[in-house]
Symmetry: C2
């Protein structure tokens, strides 16, 4: 049986930072960035890693917080007159006059434990972390009420990150199922997880997810707010929304998608599109604007929102409610008008020391992908870009993890900091556990392709380690170094199940009698690895004789057994 990677922690002073340590059969080890956390009993939750750090800064205080209401868990909880599976974490807020955001600390020149932790994970200098956060070019989403989280950073100078969406809907699923999806997503490499629940027990599901999550949790609070007004967008109000945001801030949500760029005057720009408005949040706000003929309350109350986010160090994910839902609509007036507004809001949030990332499309033909990230980076002063794909074509429902991985790798190569995964079920249905895994693995490989293309320090080491294992027929190492060792090994075993085939110097493509890898190993053995082409040409006549003498065989007999 193949030895699968072990999770380990590297002790740096007082910090224990997680890595996945792959022990190779040649005695070497290879350490990979690890998202899975230490593992938790869902009923108990994770230990609050950051609680001590937060306490020690002495700038927050516990308080009772908002009282949970039945409606927080949806209309059926109201009907039942009771909620299910309630759980209440500790609520913290800043002491008067204190600003507890990582951005505020960074701007004040302070290096937090979160920044040190991130620097170890990323293998970079902590000053890079601090200065990028201070400049707004990176964020560390870390709500003071989510002390269970292992700090991570989102920014173009750092490893490209991947978000996985989970969440129940009116149609399906249970709390336990969603916690299981969370665990599954981070096991396979999700760097953040968004809980997009719209069904029953929204509040409680979120609490369970946060208490069990070592990665930052994002939400789209307008979804819950809409549930609270019986799904009628015109009944939404700033007050209902504000209350919902506070509810979620207190639970520990690390970043929230806010569709404050869907302005009244932009809505008609979508009328001529092939697919209009496809963002749920965008269409909710468009519906509200139209019904009231008023400006989007998320826009008009944006500074108040900043004040709330600042209390808990919640980061903005400025939603692209007018993103294109078809390649035909890419980079159009509606999309770019909204992006201009998101740029304005980025600056406003920064005035409050609130961290910001900006969301991006969607569906974009490959030739228009780079322009998306270029404009966003220019207009938004380098705030991290967080894109959904984009899908490079619309013709392959059922394979949109792939159509979008193509766009995602490309946009990340050009500077997108985080990619929101797309599963094979996109446009068709709700992702199950397997879809979550497929989506995460697909996006991890897209993100890593971008890291390699950007020449990110150390990124290609992983490729090289795997390729060397491949070249040297260290099959077990090849599996262990794979993004998905289980699948790699099972595919190998389908053709060559025997245990000794995993140590054999051949594979099923050429069979045991001929192997191209083997020949080039012969080339290397005969010419050495330090030979110039000229030396080689001169010395080749002798080598040729030697080669023939040694058997000249391109047949390699399988290992005994």
């Amino acid at each position: 049986m193949t030895v699968h990677p072990a999770h380990t922690r590297i002790e740096i002073g007082d910090l224990a930072v997680p890595f996945t340590r792959v022990a190779l059969t040649n005695g070497e080890t290879f350490d990979r960035y690890c998202t899975s956390g230490p593992g938790s009993d869902p009923e108990v939750g994770l230990a609050p890693l950051r609680a001590g750090w937060i306490e020690e800064r002495g700038d927050v205080t516990s308080y009772d917080g908002r009282e949970t209401q039945l409606l927080d868990n949806g209309r059926s909880a109201v009907r039942r007159g009771a909620a299910r599976g309630e759980w209440r974490g500790e609520r913290r807020r800043p002491r008067r006059g204190r600003n507890v955001t990582q951005m505020a600390y960074a701007r004040a020149g302070m290096v937090t434990e979160e920044m040190r932790y991130v620097a170890v994970r990323e293998g970079c200098d902590v000053e890079l972390v601090r200065s990028e956060v201070a400049a707004g070019r990176a964020i560390i989403p870390a709500n003071v009420n989510h002390p269970e989280s292992e700090p991570m950073i989102i920014g173009r100078r750092f490893l490209v990150k991947v978000n996985a969406n989970i969440g129940n809907s009116a149609v399906t699923s249970s709390i336990a199922e969603e916690v299981d999806k969370l665990t599954h997503a981070i096991t396979w490499g999700a760097d953040t997880v968004m809980d997009l629940s719209t069904g029953e027990d929204i509040h409680t599901t979120r609490e369970w997810i946060i208490r069990n999550s070592p990665v930052p949790i994002g939400t789209v609070p307008i979804y819950q707010a809409l549930e609270k007004v019986n799904g009628e967008a015109d009944k939404l109000s700033w007050e209902v929304f504000r209350d919902t945001v506070i509810e979620q801030c207190e639970q520990g949500v690390d970043y929230m998608t806010i569709h404050a760029g869907v302005l009244l005057r932009y809505v008609p720009l979508t009328a001529q599109r092939v697919t209009g408005i496809v963002s749920r949040g965008g269409s909710i706000m468009a519906g509200w604007c139209l019904a009231h003929h008023e400006e989007n309350f998320l826009y008009t109350h944006f500074d108040e929102l900043c004040e709330i986010f600042r209390q808990y160090d919640v980061s903005f994910s400025l939603g692209d409610g007018l993103r294109p839902g078809a390649t035909a609509d890419a980079n159009d007036e509606a999309q770019l008008a909204e992006l201009r507004t998101l740029a304005e809001l980025t600056t406003r949030a920064w005035e409050h020391d609130v961290q910001v990332m900006v969301e991006g499309p969607g569906h974009v033909p490959l030739n228009l992908v780079e322009e998306n990230v270029r404009l966003q980076q220019e207009w938004c002063h380098g705030a991290p870009f967080y894109t959904l794909g984009p899908l490079a074509t619309d013709i392959a429902p059922g394979y949109d993890h792939i159509t979008s991985a193509i766009g995602a790798a490309t946009i990340a190569m050009h500077g997108t900091a985080m990619l929101c995964y797309v599963t094979p079920k996109e446009h068709l249905g709700l992702p199950n556990r397997d879809d979550v895994k497929t989506g995460v693995i697909t996006y991890k490989l897209a993100a890593h392709s971008a890291d390699v293309a950007k020449g990110h320090p150390g990124a290609r080491d992983w490729d090289d380690a795997l390729s060397r294992a491949r070249f040297e027929f260290r099959w077990r190492d090849q599996f262990a170094l794979s993004l998905d060792p289980v699948t790699a090994e099972s595919f190998h075993d389908e053709t060559l199940p025997a245990e000794n085939a995993k140590t054999a110097h051949f594979c099923s493509m050429c069979g045991p009698k001929f192997c191209s890898m083997r020949i080039s190993q012969d080339v290397r053995e005969r010419f050495g690895s330090d030979l110039s082409a000229e030396d080689a040409a001169l010395g080749m006549k002798e080598k040729s004789a030697e080669f023939l003498e040694l058997g000249a065989s391109v047949y390699v007999e399988p290992s005994a057994g």
Copy 2:
């Protein structure tokens, strides 16, 4: 049940050209390029569509051809003293002094039926076809001994094509299985198929495949030649190889991979690579060169090879035997030295009026992808580029259809004419039927993404038709327009199996009560599709009242039932 697309033929004068006609529920139809052919009984084979055209040109004659030998079917046929399932197609060759290649015709200003057929399939002017073939910038692989083929074209001015590899190995499979894989591959969209068999019954398997194939068939004849010399590369000779090539030309192989660029002096350039030589053909020739200390016989006999290819109109696929097998080795000296030689050979083949495409990598980080096609196009005077992926990262065995689709879409966008698919089993095992389908669909979407990115005339029509169906909740049309209608429908049904959910104006992502698509349809209905932003802003107050009056509902009740 969803109505699946029907295969149809468009009659243009005396030509009946195949299309996949999708009948939409709104009464429209959408025609797609179709590769599946009319369907055949494997025991009987396809009708020889091109036989009449070839006869009418009056420049070929039937002859007996080379006698089939037992060794053609491998050493076990020799042991048995008999071959299995023999089948012999008609053998044609040119009358004395005639040149029957499409390139020769094109250069002579002649428009063949093959060119006219291709022009209808591509929806372009036939003069574009003729002139591109004449210039060597496109090829129509169409061996006179494969009259069953439906002509197609490979070139950067045309739709990006996809090749699927099939073939048995020493480890597995039967003739029937390979014919079934062929049918499966073209059903899902493979534009050409390469038979890479190395196991038993090579000759006969190939004959069955060709007689049943409406798409061009490619091979790598060195594989069979190696079998004939008991797998010992140093025993290979020009004579054995030449005889094998003639055997395959007479059977009707349309293009052959020839590793004539693996020169003796380039072999040592691979010694310092992470993964040396990974091409089978490349390593066979490298092994031969080293054993004999002689120049590659494919290079020294290249003009003779051109003369043979010219007889049957077989196209060269100049193999990249030194392609990188790891991202670390991309665009290195060995790879580019070989490409220079392939450029030289391209020109030499053209002197014989023989059609040529040039093969490319492999494993290439995204930032180096464009350079590959740019250099190939420059050095090889625009001869079509035919690449294997490339894989953008090495870390995801089991998902290399995806790591490579990322590179494939990118390289095709920059001008690669045909993409060789990669299946999920790459590096791990032999693809089964399902892997063939996954590989083909993945590459079709990559190729189409490139067509869209290139602004290929009409390419985006397909995306737009599907997106319109999606926006208008024409679920059945969305399925039918998908690259894989079966998977799209089954994914939808997993969440919402009820028949009426396929006509409902909602989907499982938001559930029946809220739907963003529905809202933007409301926007369109209320503002019309010809409204400017200014008009809209002015008129919006009234519209707002109207909207509220009409219910202002973002809830949409599910269709009855």
